[in-house]
């Protein structure tokens, strides 16, 4: 029997899934790697550790679930987090750690660029909002702050490029991840001269940018033997986690959007057009030759609720954090919608879309003597979801969204899914798959080997399970709260800045 392997190089872990050609998961495994914060704004990972962890997890999964059951691996497809940057010297050795999407060291460079006339041109050409997350800004930071490293850098890679180079010898990057570097012209699908000029690098210092269904060739012999995969196995570069999650969420129509909430979060749509946002708040990333994934990312996902649970949860009976969070959600469900006039702005890590303000901070508003922990717990969850809704509202300027699908560990908690239906006042469907990202990778690989006619048919084949319908009465309540939420966020901008400058 044939099978397809997807390899997801995520923010905290590598996840490997094996699918049969009906799209059923026949095995999965994961291994984590740490993120280092040598300084508060820094966020780094060890590329070698990620590589070794991936190999280890892959090898174990193959031995335990694939070879032993006589499956034959037909294709292997990669997904990775966006915006990572790894400087590599002429011998291929990394010059330091991988800088992840969450790294904020380039704040000064980002705000300087945002204020310059280049900003509009670069954003329009590249589709990536100008922010420290963007590799464009990270390279500019290296040029300013570590000129020695900058000068010794032969290639500015992304994590996926590095991993694929280790496995195949080729240095490539798919269009989706390329379009999230802030360096690629998303209309022409090639490196953008203006962005390159600003970063101070040449196109040949970047990986070769290739379509998501491109195959960089075979595994190097040693890995092929050690993993025990057939020499005919095809490698596909694949796409980014965001694009794959959207593909795997089955939202191919103009009137659908998908919400992903893991630690961080995003609202996304698929379409043939680039959504042009005058305020430069939306991203437009390349999916394939004709389609874009557009939307807004938020820092304020499940990580915010996790923070609340760690600080204020009851650990006397809870074995671990997960149980404690479950208990808090039960408590939150006991409070009324709106948490009796308690609102929470979830900007514990600053915020990206829609306000793009690294200085934003969390706020509880409307605290009253009668408020208990259940109200705070509810307010935190509602605040995270109001923020999702504010991203949705940007997309509503371009699209008439009638249906939402949700995925990710936080969004698919039934209590949260129902709240999304109520706050968005739209029917919400939950992805049946454990991981939409890996589902997306499977769909691409399955299309490539002929299971589906094209990627559109593949995406439409995704089955979405139950539907949550909005409760009309609650929707009205939330609409009122949302407008206060939005006002507060706007009004506090100056004070966030004042606080940051103290």
């Amino acid at each position: 029997m044939d099978c397809i392997i997807s390899i997801e190089l995520g923010t905290n872990a590598v996840r490997v899934y094996a699918f049969d050609l009906q799209g059923q998961i026949i095995g999965s495994a994961r291994g984590t790697y740490p993120t280092f914060h040598p300084y508060p704004d820094y966020s780094e990972q060890d590329p070698e550790q990620i590589f070794i962890t991936m190999l280890y997890v892959l090898k174990n999964l193959l031995n335990e679930k694939i070879h032993s059951k006589k499956y034959r691996v037909t294709a292997m497809c990669f997904s990775a987090s966006m915006h990572s940057l790894l400087a590599v010297d002429k011998n291929g050795a990394p010059l330091g750690n991988l800088i992840t999407w969450a790294d904020n060291r380039g704040q000064k460079e980002a705000s300087a660029l945002r204020g310059s006339p280049l900003a509009e041109e670069i954003y329009k050409a590249t589709g990536t909002p100008i922010h420290p997350m963007s590799p464009l800004v990270k390279i500019a930071w290296l040029k300013d702050q570590q000129p020695g490293v900058f000068a010794r850098t032969d290639k500015f890679m992304s994590l996926k490029s590095y991993i694929i180079q280790q496995l195949t010898g080729r240095i490539v990057l798919d269009h989706s991840l390329s379009s999230a570097t802030g360096l690629m012209d998303i209309h022409k699908r090639e490196w953008d001269p203006t962005a390159l000029g600003y970063a101070g690098i040449r196109a040949d210092q970047l990986p070769e940018t290739v379509p998501i269904n491109y195959s960089p060739g075979k595994l190097l012999n040693q890995y092929r033997v050690s993993l025990g995969v057939p020499s005919a196995m095809k490698i596909l570069v694949g796409s980014s986690d965001g694009c794959f999650a959207t593909l795997g969420a089955g939202v191919w129509d103009q009137h659908k959007a998908t919400i992903t909430i893991e630690d961080s979060a995003a609202v996304r749509v698929i379409g043939k057009d680039v959504l042009s946002d005058g305020k430069r708040r939306l991203f437009n990333y390349v999916l394939d030759d004709t389609h874009y994934v557009s939307g807004g990312p938020s820092n304020s996902g499940g990580v915010v609720f996790e923070w609340f649970a760690k600080q204020f949860g009851d650990f006397r009976n809870a074995f671990d954090l997960e149980t404690c969070m479950e208990d808090l959600i039960k408590e939150a469900a006991m409070a009324d919608p709106g948490a009796e006039r308690l609102l929470f702005l979830p900007y514990l890590l600053g915020e990206r879309a829609p306000i793009w303000n690294a200085q934003a901070r969390g706020v509880f508003f409307g605290v009253n003597i009668n408020h208990e922990r259940k109200h705070f717990a509810r307010a935190v969850i509602e605040g995270i979801l109001y923020e999702m809704y504010s991203i949705e509202r940007m997309l509503l300027e371009h699209r008439n969204i009638k249906e939402i699908s949700v995925n990710g560990s936080f969004a698919s908690i039934p209590f949260c899914t129902q709240l999304i239906a109520d706050i968005f006042n739209l029917p919400v469907r939950v992805s049946a798959n454990a991981s939409s990202v890996s589902m997306g990778a499977y769909l691409l690989a399955a299309t490539d080997i002929g299971v589906y006619k094209n990627i559109e048919e593949a995406s439409r084949s995704v089955s979405l399970a139950e539907t949550y319908r909005p409760n009309v009465r609650n929707s009205k309540v939330y609409a009122g709260y949302f407008s206060v939420f939005e006002n507060l966020t706007g009004k506090l901008a100056d004070d966030f800045e004042a606080l940051a400058n103290l």
Partner: protein, 295 residues
């Protein structure tokens, strides 16, 4: 406060407890200059501060002690006072003998009913941490007071109770120390700290028991938590770290393979080579050849 002092050999109360060297509770009403010279601690000493403020030094570490604080001083450490005298105040103490405490094992003595693996964990925690049991370990001061009251009152079954309370005291202090070493609710933080220790001491031959003790957990629970958090058993996680570090070192042509093997915690270059090849398909020297610009 009940002031008293019991000494092994002269106090009848301690006859049944040969391991307890001395215990008591005393008030210091006056300062006696030069009365507190540096002493090499001979026994297991636990002090509980009842009143006053003390500045002591254990080895190189300065301790500022306040009422409610519990201090544990292991045999072999040097105890002194920077001022040279004992400050005014009140404190309770117990000094007792143990059979053995080193990096390989901790044997309190026959009086203790802690089992071997519990002792191992407690021993590791005691050796790896500071002397001060933090955050006003009220638990410890309550247990010490109860123990002393058993000794003085000699109620029914006091022989057993005193030894039980001494075990309890050890457990309470070890737990308190481990709690400070890791913010217990958040395993990701605990694991991150451990990971850092592993990275900083890759060459060392870590056992799972030792890793577990470093974060103050029992081995079984530790295994479960690490597996569920990382996807790996502790041993396999450590092997990943070792190979990842080895890859970095292999890119430096000036280092020889045996040194790399030993620096990354493999017991021989043979062991290194087999493990490396099993995972990557390359021997270390093949990997080096491919990654140092030779191809």
């Amino acid at each position: 406060m009940n002031l008293f002092e019991l000494q092994q050999g002269s106090s009848r109360e301690l006859q049944l407890f040969p391991h307890i060297v001395s215990t008591g509770c005393k008030k210091n009403n006056a300062i006696h200059l030069e009365s507190f010279r540096e002493t090499a601690v001979d026994f297991f000493r636990i002090y509980n501060i009842i009143d006053g403020k003390y500045e002591w030094r254990v080895d190189e570490e300065d301790l500022h002690l306040y009422p409610g604080d519990t201090v544990l001083i292991l045999p072999g450490r040097k105890l002194s006072s920077p001022k040279g005298f004992l400050e005014i105040g009140a404190l309770a103490w117990i000094h007792f003998e143990i059979d053995c405490l080193d990096h390989a094992k901790f044997v309190p003595g026959r009086w203790s009913s802690l089992n071997e693996s519990e002792c191992y964990t407690i021993g590791r925690i005691l050796l790896l941490n500071r002397s001060l049991a933090p955050s006003k370990a009220c638990e410890a001061s309550r247990i010490l007071a109860a123990l002393q009251s058993e000794l003085l009152n000699q109620g029914i079954a006091f022989h057993t109770r005193v030894n039980q309370l001494l075990d309890e005291l050890l457990v309470a202090i070890a737990r308190e120390l481990a709690k400070e070493a890791n913010p217990g609710r958040d395993f990701s933080k605990v694991f991150f700290q451990l990971e850092k220790k592993l990275r900083d001491n890759l060459a060392r031959q870590w056992s799972v028991e030792e890793m577990a003790a470093t974060v103050g957990m029992g081995t079984t629970l530790f295994n479960v938590r690490v597996k569920s958090y990382t996807g790996f058993t502790p041993t396999n996680y450590l092997i990943n770290l070792r190979i990842a570090e080895a890859i970095k070192l292999l890119r430096k042509p000036e280092l020889n393979l045996t040194d790399i093997a030993l620096d990354t915690g493999f017991c021989s270059s043979q062991h290194f080579s087999t493990t490396f090849k099993k995972l990557t398909g390359y021997t270390p020297s093949e990997f080096r050849k491919r990654n140092t610009g030779d191809t």
